[in-house]
Each structure stands twice: as C-alpha cells, then as structure tokens.
Amino acid sequence: MTHRTGRLLTVGALARVEGEGALHVSVRGDRVEAVRLEIYEPPRYFEALLRGRTYAEPPDLTSRICGICPVAYQMSACRAIEDACGIVVDGQLAQLRRLLYCGEWIESHTLHVYLLHAPDFLHLPDALALARTDAALLQRGLRLKKAGNEIVEVLGGRAIHPVNVRLGGFHRLPTRAELDHLATVLRQARTDAEDTLGWVAGFEFPPLTVQHELLALTEPDGYAIDSGTPTGALAGPFPLRDFEHRVREHQVPHSTALHATLDGQAHLTGPLARWNLGSERLPAEIRALAAQAGLGPRCVNPFRSIVVRAAEVLWAVTEAQRIIEQYEPPPAPAVPVPPHAGTGYGATEAPRGLLYHRYDLDEAGFVRRAVIVPPTAQNQTAIEADLLAFVEPRLHLDDAELTRQCERVIRNYDPCISCAAHFLTLTVDRS
C-alpha cells in the first residue's frame, strides 16, 4: 500500500500498493549516513477520483487499490460511509463480514508465508523451487491459501475484488449448503494451519529488535480485525476521529508513498503491533499453540513476523469455524443506509496493518472528500529505521549479500510493494 505527504494522505500513494522500489544506503567510513527506501509505483490518484462519486461506490472503487487485500478496502470504506450515515451494521451481518475478512486473512497471510517469505529462510529463489524439494509442503500451503479464497468466493462472489459487498451488508446471503461446504474445507485448514505454525517456528531468525511505537486496533474481548479502537503502545487508545491528528503523513521527495508518524514517532502497524497489543485477548487454545511455537505475549523481532502471521492464520481459521457454527440467517442481506451529510471514519485491520478511511458526504450522498491511510505508508518510516539498524553491523558483507539481506528485512513487513522478490536495487555509496 502506500504513501503520502505533508497534508494528510491520499490514495495516489495507495496505488503503489505493491510495485517496485529502490533502496539507497550512503555510507561514510563504517557509518551509515542515510537509508532511503524509494517506492516508485506510479500514483493512481484514488483520493482524487473518489470525489463526486456517490456514497455506494467507494467499496468497489477502493478495492482496486490493492488486489491482495481488496476486502480490507471494502470493509474500511463501508464502515466509514456507514458511520457518516449514522448506521451500525451489527448482529449476524457483522459476523458474516468478519467471516469474509477471515477468508482474506487466511489467503493473504498464507500467500506471504509460503510464496513470498519462506523462500528467504530456506535460501531459495521462489516457492516453486520448494516444490522440487518438498512438493507436499508447498501443496499444504496452496491448500490452506485456497481455503481462504473459498471463503471469499462464497461470501464475495470471487476471490479478487469481491462483488457481493455493499453498504449495510451484502447483496445476497450465503446458503446453508455453502456454509456447510466451507465448514468441511475449514476442518482440513485447521490441521494445515497448525502444521504451518509448527513449520515456520523452526526457521532461523536473525537478531533484530523493533524500537518503534506500535499501532493497532484493539477490542475489549477479542482479537481486532473488522473494528476496534486505535491503540498505540505508548500513545494508548484514542478515538478514531482523532486519527489524522495523531497519525500525520508527509511526502518525501524519493517516494510516491507518503510517510507517516504517530505523535511524531516512527510507528509500526501490522502483525507485530497486533500481537503485542492484542494477543492476550486471543483464545487460550491459540495462545498455547503459539507458545509452543516460541511466541510469548510480546514479539519484537521483525523476522519473527512470519510466525505471528502463521498464528494469525490459525486464529482466523478457528474464528471462521466459530462464525459458521453459530450462524443464524439475518432477516435481510443488508440494512438500509440512507444518505446523510457528514463525515465518517472507518478503520479495520488489513493483513498488513491498520487501514483508515474518511469520507465527507453531502446530503445527496456524493463524496466531497476522501482520505485513505494504508498500512504501508505508516510502516515506511519504521522500515527505513530497521534497515539503518540492520545494515551498520553488516557493512563488511559484499553488495550482493547485503542487498539480499536488506530485501529480507523489507519482506518482514509484507509491504504492499512487496512484489516479493528483488524489487530492490541497492546502491552502496562508500564515499
């Protein structure tokens, strides 16, 4: 995801959801003088093109910011617009939205774990190379990923850019037979997710400690995904309507992505932030399995984020099972959302971190202004700081090896620029 600038953010940055980037490290003697992560994904100007559209459109339009987490965009947009219109979607409709979101977490996290991140730990160029040494292992990953996609397909119509989401709920409710099918798929997924957690726990993790402020949504009695209160490790909880005063975006010359800070500090959002701020509210059974995988209530090594992702997949599978078991069809697929002039705020936990939307609507429901702060924009400052801390003790490595390792540091964040592989060209200026 993205970027933005001095003013509050914008979508233009979002566009560079994934995409390409470059890293510049300037070294003088044995000191690193500067680290610059460049994102040069072309801007797509979403915040601009949303102006003048009607309030029913942002869920479909903003999903196109990111093909890897479209549900996150749809959910944050719905929440923000419903907030502007004074509507709260609750009960079974809210549960179905959560089920849809669990599908995206399972699919997107598993994609990152197996196809994008694990090859780093196994010293392989890609997951297909893994298939040659251990086909069953990759098949397990693909099966788990597919389970997530099947949830999104049943609830949303298709896995990428689902069509069934609307303000107030859905166009059509799932049938009992469809949910029964998902329940069957999830039984296997449960085993696969446990095995995945055990597998990644055995990787070797280079030492690195996060020094940043953390930001995640929290809820009083559960793990936050589709709602919650923004909470900083240092900043504490604050109302969502204060978000843009606390999280400021600014533009830097070297990137189309805006940089952001929380109360002036570099901050981190995503799996590590969620884990440190919310893992105590996970079911005891999940906490116990995570503990077996070496995850205590705090995790401050970004390289271990792959273990947190695997634990979150396991949780999302069990949460999806719970929702399906307790499901009772609501009276209608959606509650009416009449237009209302005003401003609405929405935030949810995309797999990569907190995704914030704000919309100003006029009385006919036209969008006057849209503000979108994606997780990658928020994480960019922290990623640069991590790189600085990581590179200095490793300056003796040659450029190729140092580049490879820096890429790993960046992939810990699954930034939407992650285009997984060698999106980095490292130039070391050893003047």
């Binding site: 479209p70 994609l111 890609d126 297909l128 099966r143 996609n149 059509r172 533009q251």
Partner: protein
C-alpha cells in the same frame, strides 16, 4: 524448442490480475512443470534473460518511464497478452483522463513536482502491438488458464466475444432486470466472469468492459440499453458514471457515457 519461458510484467495496477495466476492453487504445480518462469517479480527473485515466449502484461501506461519499458518488453516477447482492465483500457486510474492532472495531484500530494506522472493513463495497445487482450477487473482465472494452455498446445485460445447475458443463461440465473428491475450492464458487457453479479442478485457494473471481439468488432448497442436503464431508475448522470468506472476509456463505454448525458440534453 526448450521449455517455454513466461514473463509477468506490471505497470500501473493493483496486482490483482497477476495474483490471479498465483490463485490457481490446483494448477500451479502442473503449470510450473510445463513452463519456465523467466520473470515474475511477485513470485520469484530469479530472473532469466530474454527473450520470453509468453509475456503477460498487467497495468496501464502512466509514467514517462513506462513508455520506454513497454517497448523493450515488446521487443523481448514473442507473444504478448495484456491482462485486465488496466492493461486493456487504462483501468480505473484512467478516470483522470477526464479531469485535470494538476487538480488530481493537488488532492493527493503536497509537492506534485516530485511525481513522474503522465496526464493520461492509457492501455498497452496504444503503444505497442498486442497479440491478445484478456478483459476483466480482475481477469478470470479460467480464461487465464485457457490462454496459457492454448499457448502451450499451439492452438488459438477459446475466448468468446459475447455478452454477460449469455453467461447468465448458461448458469441458469434469472435475469435481474426482467425479474426485479435491477439496472444491469450485462447486455453490453463482455462475457468471461461467469456472470457473477447477477448470480449474487446484483446488476453487472461492467468490470469486463464493452462486449466485442479483440479488434472491437461486434461492439455493443449501448444506445438500446439506455431506455431500460432509465426505466429502472438510473438518471443520466448515473448512467454516465456507471460506464465511467473500471473501463471508462474503452471506446464503446466512453461513447456510451457521452450518449447518456447528451440524450437528455
């Protein structure tokens, strides 16, 4: 001939179309045995040198740097297929073609001078010859597999050029317009998705772009659909907006948006 070499390229886009390839969970391993990945940033850090036998291109041309890059990719590719609405029609970011770029930039960036951006977002075919265009935002998994397997078998891919209406009939979905008066762009929209929206009780919003063959033959009669949309409560400005979403710059939809506004004028 050795194993054919596949390349996947990205321009201005959301990555959803190339992700469709990784979403082929059941076919991925079999495919990997028949085709060699020469360049696919999202999936591999290994890059093989050109030429590439089959290039899949996602995204629209949106920066000056893109202009040079797409020409190089064309030279390095034997068969070039564009995937998705961004690559075939400029994508949702082509909405800026109807607006002023400085205005758009001012909304998003405090310092637009740092940004390399063309004032229009254009399809790949506006710049280089393209062998096949696959529609959709995103593309359909089955169509993508059809293109790849047809390429491997050295036959023409079976990509029909009819409308979404045919797919509703195939699927056995009751017409949402006839039965419920739901506005639907299905009659003028290219098939390929399997008519998902009507199956979910929603009118088609045209994400596969205007119906018609690769060279624009058999284009849709958007004028005939206008009265029906109007009957179902779509005002002129709404109809124009409906056409101006993910395929706004596809010629038939751009023209339909104009018709919708001018007809009431």
């Amino acid at each position: 001939m050795g194993t054919p070499r596949l390349a996947v390229w990205k321009f201005s886009s959301c990555d959803g179309c190339q992700l469709t390839l990784l979403d082929c969970e059941d076919e991925l391993l079999a495919l990997a045995g028949k085709i060699e990945i020469g360049y696919f940033l999202e999936a591999s850090s290994r890059q093989l040198p050109p030429p590439y036998d089959l290039s899949l291109v996602e995204g629209s041309i949106a920066t000056t740097a893109d202009l040079e890059r797409i020409r190089r990719i064309r030279e390095q590719s034997r068969y070039l297929v564009t995937i998705g609405a961004c690559a075939t029609a400029g994508g949702v970011q082509a909405l800026r073609n109807l607006a002023s770029l400085p205005e758009y930039q001012a909304v998003v960036y405090a310092r637009p001078e740092y940004i390399d951006s063309l004032d229009r977002s254009t399809p790949i075919s506006a710049h280089v010859p393209v062998d096949l265009e696959l529609r959709g935002c995103p593309i359909d998994k089955r169509q993508l597999l059809e293109v790849i397997t047809a390429y491997l078998a050295d036959r023409k891919p079976d990509i029909p050029a009819h409308s979404v209406c045919f797919e509703c009939k195939l699927r056995g979905t009751t017409c949402v317009t006839v039965a419920h008066g739901t506005p639907c762009l299905g009659p003028v929209t290219q098939a390929g998705c399997g008519a998902i929206c009507p199956a979910y009780g929603r009118g088609c919003y045209g994400c596969f772009g205007p119906m018609g063959g690769f060279n624009g033959e058999g284009g849709p009669n958007t004028r005939a659909l206008l009265p029906l949309l109007r009957r179902d409560g779509v005002a002129e400005a709404d109809a124009a907006r409906l056409y101006r979403t993910f395929n706004a710059e596809a010629p038939a939809f751009a023209e339909a948006a104009r018709q919708a506004t001018e007809d009431d004028g």
